[in-house]
Amino acid sequence: MAQTVFEPWEDPDQKPLIQFRNVTKRFGAFTAIDNLSLDIFEREFFALLGPSGCGKTTMMRMLAGFEAVSEGAIYLSGQDIGPVPPNKRAVNMMFQSYALFPHLSIWDNIAFGLKRDRLPKNAIGDRVSEMLKLTRLEKFAHRKPHQISGGQRQRVALARSLAKAPKLLLLDEPLGALDKKLRQDTQFELMDIQEKTGTTFVIVTHDQEEAMTVASRVAVMDEGRLIQVDTPARIYETPTSVYVADFIGDVNIIEGHGTKSGDGYDVTFAEGQPVLHAKTSRDLGSAGKCYLAIRPEKVSISAEKPEGKTNLVKGAILDIAYLGNLSTYHVKLASGQIIKAQTANTRRIARRDLTWEDEVWLSWTETAAVVLES
């Protein structure tokens, strides 16, 4: 049996769980969210990614019901949730500050939402035990929040927000307060829990690596607008704007003048430099200003001039950043541009032949660069 790929956004018959329809949110004269439309599907792990202040928390707060939309509407399972107060929404939120109740034990924190539903005592007990087990907190059930570590508190917050089995779980920078190692472990734990519970997760982060790791789709935001919504791979490989290309990972951006040629564009970017060619299915008009975005790991570097390459430039090594598994070479072209090339360090350091101020050749394939409009 062929494994079905999880891509509900590609299927026109799928009904989205959440729909933002032309949502605008203003605080006084300030527009925090600007005419935004977005579909999020059931069982998705959806990441909102963007710089601080771009409106991520505002999006979450509108979903949770703490902020009303100024214009437009938000639908949950097809129902407009505008008039539904936060305590009546099948949505739970894990707060950026965790917001654990300091006067209650871990057990009571997790049971808090269940008790509000007036479930029978043993049902509450069972559910709390289940949540404690899921988040590996059994031993801490009777401690108070100030008696456990930051990582454990984060898991309590997660357990508490999952306890009511919401249709939608909102996580606002859930890992922000954890150190790097714990963050990475917790990311996988989150994915695992998301898969086990089948809950739809919307996570906010300003860490692009985190978004790429956990999410089925990523929305890159800036100033209250969606810039691109796509799978992590497509966001990385085929960004649709310079902003996204630049925001996600390391990238070389070359500004130039493009003219349509065959199945792509020819780009002249500086006097005395060869014309570059990049394939693209996108149509940017017959000629005009454009940008090429090339990931450093897609640029090959060599001391000898390679044969038969379409995109080939010459420069001198300005700087080498040794990252252990990788090295990034900063190469300055005669025309002044600096292009980064990255190679895997499969050989021992002593046997590598490139060093500062060496003349080198950089090359990349026709499909390596992405052509972007200005």
């Binding site: 949770a64 019901g65 703490f66 107060p85 936060p86 305590n87 949505v91 739970n92 939120m93 707060f95 950026q96 500050s97 917001a99 654990l100 109740f101 300091p102 006067h103 808090f112 939402g113 509000r116 539903d117 100030h146 508490r160 927000s161 009511k164």
Partner: protein
């Protein structure tokens, strides 16, 4: 050495300002009345040497404490003081909590002004403020004039020189002691806790009872003790606003000292009052301690 000095200073302070006065009062309570200056015997005669000290100690007895049990006035006054202090503490809490809550909800730029309004009465003499209440509560006072003018009553109400006036006076006087600790607790309350409670299914009202109230508990306890402890020994308010039937131990104490000039019995009354107060004072300290630990 430095450490020793640092520790010694507060203890010397306590010794000078609390323990020595207490021992003096305790000593007087064990003495007998006398028509002399000071109005009690024995007095310590160090000139007579060892015999003088011995005579001094044999002259002390518990007669005055025994006397307190023989006259029902005293234990009735203690009980009535406890009742008045307790009821007025509850009333102060009921008035003070909403005020503190309102202050904590107010916009940041308003808070210093509101705080000032709460503290402002302290800047005028306590006696003047109590006299002002006499002017307000008397039969010809502002309150009655207002009630007659609006037609709520046809007859002026007798409020002054009743227990009601005492309650009004105590609630008014000690309100800031209730408001400030509660406000301090509410102001620290993290807004996101209430949102979390709502997110988990609480209505606004139940979030208040389940989150706001428990988290301001230490402020409530501190405020209640700060009102209850001084209210128990209060004598100015019952003397000026209360009637002849208002029985409070502070008033009895005052009368023993200054009307009857029976210093030994008055001192015995004071010692018992202090012993009664020790329990709430210790509880108050424990609450403060727990609060500091929870924050630390």
């Amino acid at each position: 050495m430095r450490r020793l000095v640092l520790i010694a200073v507060p203890y010397l302070w306590l010794l000078a300002l609390f323990l020595i006065p207490f021992l003096i009062v305790l000593k007087i309570s064990l003495s007998d009345t006398a028509l002399a200056i000071p109005p009690y015997t024995p007095t310590l005669d160090l000139g007579a040497g060892w015999a003088g000290v011995k005579a001094f100690f044999t002259g002390l007895d518990f007669e005055n404490f025994w006397f307190l049990t023989t006259d029902e006035l005293y234990w009735k006054a203690y009980l009535s003081s406890l009742q008045i202090a307790l009821l007025s503490t509850i009333m102060t809490l009921m008035v003070g909590y909403p005020i503190a809550y309102g202050m904590a909800q107010a916009r940041d730029e308003w808070r210093p002004t509101l705080m000032l309004l709460v503290i402002l009465p302290f800047w005028t003499s306590f006696l003047i403020r109590v006299y002002a209440w006499m002017g307000i509560l008397s039969r010809e006072g502002l309150l009655n004039q207002f009630l007659l003018w609006t037609g709520v009553t046809n007859e002026p109400l007798t409020i002054l020189n009743t227990d009601t006036a005492v309650y009004i006076g105590i609630v008014y006087t000690y309100l800031p002691f209730m408001v400030l600790p509660i406000y301090a607790a509410l102001e620290k309350l993290d807004e996101s806790l209430l949102e979390a409670a709502e997110d988990l299914g609480c209505s606004r009202a139940s979030a208040f009872w389940l989150v706001t109230v428990p988290l301001s508990k230490s402020g409530i306890i501190a405020g209640c003790f700060l009102v209850f402890i001084p209210a128990l020994g209060e004598f100015v308010i019952p003397s000026l606003l209360g009637g002849s039937q208002t029985l409070m131990i502070g008033k009895v104490l005052w009368e023993e000292f200054f009307n009857n000039r029976d210093w030994p019995v008055a001192s015995a009354v004071a010692v018992i009052l202090l012993l009664i107060l020790i329990i709430p004072i210790i509880l108050f300290q424990r609450n403060e301690q727990k609060q500091r630990e929870a924050e630390g």
